[in-house]
Structure formats: C-alpha cells, structure tokens
C-alpha cells in the first residue's frame, strides 16, 4: 500500500527535503539555458532553429521535472503516470498533423477582408 522508504534523514520520515545547493544549481542552469535559447535564435540556423530551441526547452523541462518536482526521488508510478501523458499528446498531434498535411492541397488559403455575417437558421 504505502511502501515509502524513509529517505531524508532520521526525523524526516517520508519527507525528502531538497538541498539548497541542488535547488540553486538547477536554477542557475535554467537561467543559463534560457540565455542559450535566446542566443541560438540569433544565429540564423534556419529550420534547425525550431529543433534546437525545443531541445534546449526539453533539457530545461527535464531539470524542472527531476529536481524542482522531485521526480528523481519520487515513486516510479508517478513518473510513469506523468510521462505517459506525453505519449498521448504525441499521438494526438501526430495524427492530426499527418492528416492535415495529407489534405492541405484540397483547399485554398484565402485573404479575409471582413468578418462573415452570421447565417440565420431557418424559421
């Protein structure tokens, strides 16, 4: 039922206080990575820019999840629960994008000058 190893020291029970050092280290890494993201966007990488910035964002996300959200010291079930949600997001985005690109030639991209009127329903 509840088998939580008592980490964190003699009087902490199931609590696991993060060390100040680790918190600060993670924070400054995140700031650095933010700067890096902005810097790389000035480098004219073309279409690779999206991949690079998302990659850096994922590193930042990993740091936040592992340390600020203490997933590193959490029960594996919680990690599985949270991370598996991204599988479903990928499924959703994947299919919709694949489909939309499949039929994109069947319609035109138009210029919209003004808002269309609301169509009255019959009766």
């Amino acid at each position: 039922m509840s088998e939580h190893k008592a980490h964190g020291g003699k009087h902490h029970g199931f609590a696991h206080p993060a060390s100040v050092k680790s918190l600060l280290l993670v924070f400054f890494s995140l700031i650095f990575l933010t700067w890096l993201t902005v810097f790389q966007s000035t480098l004219e990488l073309g279409s690779a820019e999206l991949v690079v910035s998302l990659f850096i964002a994922t590193i930042k996300a990993t740091l936040v999840i592992l340390f600020f959200m203490h997933m590193l010291h959490d029960k594996p079930l919680n990690a599985i629960v949270f991370l598996s949600s991204f599988i479903f997001v990928a499924l959703f985005l994947g299919f919709v994008l694949m489909d939309a690109h499949g039929y994109k030639d069947s319609y035109e991209f138009k210029n919209v000058d003004s808002a269309p009127k609301i169509v009255k329903t019959t009766e």
Binding site: F88, F95, A115, P116, I118, T121
Partner: protein
C-alpha cells in the same frame, strides 16, 4: 467440501441499525454537504436517472414525429433541437456518469474494504459540478434551442444562432466532474487497497472502473479545450475551426473525436465490469479467464485512443489517414470479444439463477454483441462510405449504448439494490421489465439497421414513403421499451416502500461489499475485512431467505480454484 471448522457469522454483518448510512444523520444539509461516498453515489443515481427520464421523453417525441414521413407536430427546426437535446443529455448527463458516478462511487470503497474514496471532498465537488453543468446545459438549450447536434460540428456551430457558448460551457463543467471522478478512483484503487488485495485479487468491477478512470483523466481534458476553443471561435472568431478565417472544420472533428471516441469506452467499460460481477455471482461460478478480462479492460482503454478517425471517414480526411484508422479500428474489437467469450464460458457448468440482474446481463451479452459486430461494417472504409450518417449508425450506437450500457447499468442497479437500500424487489416484475426492455429495444432498433442500409439518413425529420413501415415499427418498439423501463422504475420504487428486508448477502457473492450489512453502516466496516478470492464461492453457505448467504472463513485452506 473438505472438513472445515465453521466459524460463527462475521461481525461485519451486524451493525447498529442506527448506523445505517441512509439514516445516521438526518436533514437536507446532511445529504447536501455529505462526504459519505455512498450518499454521493445515491444522489448521483437520482440525478442521472432524472436526466435519463428527460432525454427518454425527448426520444419518444422524436420517434412519434417519425411515424409519418411528412410533418406531424414538429417543424424541422424543432426536430433538430429535440435530437440535439436528446443526444447531449443522454451522453453528457446520463451515460458517461451513470455507472462510474452512481454505482462506482457507492461500490469502489466498499469493495476495497475502505472507509471512503481517497478524496471525499473532491467527490462531492464532482457531484456539484455535475449539477451545475446540468443546470447550465439544460437552461441554455431550453432557452433558445440548440440545433447543432450533440457533436457541435463547425462551421454550423460557429454560425448558428443559438446558445452554443452556454451549452459548451456546460459541457466544460461536466467534463471536470468526470475528470475528478476518474482521478479519485485511480488514486483510491492505487493507494487504498487493503493488505492482501493484490491487483489480481481485485473484483473485476474495479479493474473496469480503473480502466475507465484512465480514459476519463486522459481524454476529457481534450474535450475541455475543444469546447473552449469553440466558444472562443464564436465570440472572438479565432479562426481555428471556422473556414471563413482559414480555419479547418476537419480539425474540429479531430479535436472532438479524440475525446468522444474514448468516451464511448468510458460508457461501456464500467457496464462490462458489472456484467463480470453479475455473471459470476448469478452463475455461482468463478469468472472464466479473470486475467484476460482484467487485461482486456486496460487494452480497450488504450486501444480506444487509436481509432477516433473512424467517425470521420467521409469528412475530407486524407486517404492515408482513413486507411490507418480503419485498420486500427479492427484491433479494438478483439478485447471486447475476449470478454464476451469469457462471460459465456463462465455460464458453462455454472448454476445459472435467472434473477432479474442475470436476465439483464444476458440481454447485455446478446445486444452488445450485435452492436459490436455491426461496428465492423462501420469500421470498414468501403461499407462506411454508404452507411455513414444513416440510421445504420444510429442503430449501431444505440445497440452498444442502450443495449450495452443502459442494460448493464440496470443489471447493476438491480444486483446492488439490496445492498444500497436494504430492500429486496419483486423478481417477477423485474423479469417482466427485462423482457419488455429486450423486446421493445430490438423492435425499435433492428428496423433501423435495415433502414440505414437502404439509405435512410440520420437526423432527418422527413423521409420518403418507402421507409414508413420500418419507422412505425421502430416507434412502436420505442414505446414498448419506454414501458419496460417504467416497469423497472416501478419495481425499484415499490421495493422501497414494501420490499422485504435484504440480508447482507442475498445473492451469495464473495466480494467484500457483501460482508457488511445491507445497507452498509456509514463507516462501511467496523474492522477491515479479510481479503479473499473474489470469485471463490466454496466458502459461501446459504442459511435461509432472511439471512441470505454467509461467508464462512475457512480455517483449513479450501482447495484453490483454478484461475486462468
């Protein structure tokens, strides 16, 4: 049976009558602000049954109009509003919450031998979100009449006059009710199982509830964002779904069905869980293929996320996508078939008792099988092209949702009615209701398969003369079905007044909820019950009609029944 020393009856059976959860505290507020999962479950039961009644009347209105090919008493506009209301109320206010919220809330903690769900206040919150959503939703529709169909397809839903925003916000609120219920159940089943109840010693109803809860948590938020974006589309014209601004209506359908297909598994899985329980108990035989049923519940939940495109084959999707979705759709039928085989195998060499719950359960198997099989024609691209948006689809989903979920729900209500209310009902009239429902249902919807395959479109208020006979048959069936449901309701209400007092275990079941009194005390169990095999009936001994069955703790271990 090997020699076992019989111990005196469990102390769980005996609890102070004043502790009965129905009466341990009195007054409207004690119910309105209750944190007792059993009371919340009952309030949900009353709520969903009321919603069902309203939507059912609307169905009869539709079917009555369809007696004649031309206009009788509804304009086409009114007809559109009526079927929209019928569908929306049934889907969002009845079918999705019915089994999990009404029966699940009552049963999950008791089946676990626990005192309550993990988050009782969240549970009450879920109920009030249901109420709020219901009020929002209904009043929005009754005010000016929504005519988009419950599916809210764009661009019509972005352009029509009518309370689309109000209705979709009602859906948004109801979505959270569903999410929180699912969340509560996942945590409860994960962290509050008693010592000794491993995953594979859980009743199958809990497996079904767990799988349903997974879908609720994963899929419903996508519905939330979809309706939010739809509302934003109407108010601010954000241009995501509206082609007038280079938006894409097919994308709306993707967003909508990504939730709404898994939603149908939210509707059917709990009912399947009920059938697993009822079949085993009323055949007095261990469920065949426990692990297969358990795994197939999870498989249905997961595969159900892969097939939503089969609602959109004719919408303008890319051809490749249609092929992929069609192929995937066939896989999702496999776990369901496994369950049906296992239920039938459970009956083999069992001691079948044709009680009311069993009658409904047998109806379920028959009707769900037809519904499931007809889905195959709809999953195949070539046939779907002809059958999409015809009455074939209408018949298919009514077979699974009414013949499946509703009948399963009724089976469960009858099965657990003695436990929830402490009253036995009239078996004779219960079985009468089952027959009326079965015959009436088939008479209503079998003709619709025929009509649909001959080209009768759905959501049409007027039709060509050649379909009139089938429509009239269908309408007669609908009234018969309605009558059967009234009889069922009458049986239940009558039992409240004059039913015999129910013993703790009237059916001879082995799961934990039958080891407390009927109705349970508000604290469920005085001491945590001993976990046992949920489908092992050897330790159950029948005393008499008043005392029902009793679970006798084995002091020497009984031979282990063979489980798959």
């Amino acid at each position: 049976m090997s020699a076992v020393a019989t111990e005196p009856t469990h102390s769980h059976y005996e609890s102070n009558e004043a502790d009965n959860f129905l009466i341990n505290s009195k007054g409207v507020l004690s119910w309105a602000l209750t944190l007792d999962h059993k009371r919340i479950g009952l309030m949900y039961l009353v709520g969903v049954m009321s919603a069902f009644f309203v939507a059912g009347i609307l169905a009869l209105v539709l079917r009555t109009e369809l007696m004649t090919p031309d206009q009788w008493f509804l304009t086409t506009q009114q007809y559109n509003q009526v079927f929209t209301l019928h569908g929306a109320i049934m889907v969002f206010l009845f079918i999705i919450p019915s089994v999990p919220a009404a029966l699940g809330n009552f049963l999950v903690p008791v089946m676990l031998g626990a005192k309550d769900v993990a988050f009782p206040r969240l549970n009450l919150g879920s109920f009030y979100l249901w109420v709020a959503g219901a009020i929002f939703f209904l009043s929005a529709m009754l005010y000016t009449g929504l005519d988009t169909g419950w599916t809210f397809y764009t661009p019509y839903s972005t352009q029509t006059r009518g309370p689309v925003v109000a209705a979709t916000m009602g859906v948004f609120i109801l979505g959270f009710s569903s999410i929180f219920t699912g969340l509560n159940f996942i945590v409860t089943i994960n962290t509050m199982r008693p010592p000794g109840m491993t995953w594979f010693k859980m009743p199958l109803f809990l497996w079904a509830t767990y799988a349903t809860a997974i879908i609720q948590v994963l899929a419903t938020p996508v519905l939330g964002i979809t309706v939010l974006l739809l509302a934003a589309e109407r108010v601010f014209h954000i241009g995501i779904f509206d082609p007038a601004y280079n938006g894409d209506p097919v994308v709306f359908q993707h967003f909508f069905w990504f939730y709404s297909h898994p939603a149908v598994y939210i509707m059917i899985l709990p009912a399947m869980g009920i059938i697993s329980e009822v079949m085993s108990v009323h055949c007095h035989k261990s469920i065949f293929g426990y692990r297969f049923i358990a795994y197939s519940s999870i498989a249905i939940a997961l595969f159900g996320f892969l097939v939503w495109g089969h609602h959109m084959f004719t919408s303008g999707m890319a051809e490749v996508t249609t092929i992929v979705f069609s192929a995937l759709t066939f896989t999702v039928s496999i776990p369901s078939a496994i369950k049906v085989f296992n239920w039938l195998a459970t009956m083999y060499k069992g001691t079948v008792q044709l009680t009311t719950p069993m009658c409904y359960a047998l109806s379920f198997i028959f009707l769900f099988t037809i519904g499931g099989l007809t889905g195959l024609w709809l999953g195949a691209l070539s046939t779907d092209r002809h059958l999409h948006d015809t009455y074939f689809v209408v018949a298919h989903f009514h077979y699974v949702m009414v013949g499946g979920t509703l009948v399963g729900f009724l089976s469960g209500v009858f099965h657990w009615w003695p436990k929830m209310t402490g009253k036995m009902f009239s078996e004779f009239w219960g079985i009468v209701s089952c027959w009326f429902v079965f015959v009436g249902f088939n008479l209503t919807f079998l003709p619709q398969f025929v009509m649909g395959s001959r080209g009768m479109p759905r959501r049409y208020a007027r039709y060509v003369e050649e379909f009139q006979d089938l429509h009239q048959m269908s309408t007669v069936g609908a009234y018969l079905l309605g009558l059967g449901l009234f009889v069922a309701l009458g049986v239940l209400l009558h039992s409240l007044r004059s039913g015999k007092k129910a013993p703790a275990n009237p059916w001879g079941a082995a799961t934990l909820e039958w080891q407390c009194s009927s109705p349970p005390p508000f604290y469920n169990f005085q001491s945590p019950p001993t976990v046992n095999e949920p489908y092992d009936y050897l330790p159950l001994v029948y005393r008499d009609a008043d005392r029902g069955w009793e679970y006798v703790q084995q002091t020497t271990p009984a031979p282990k029944p063979v489980h798959v």
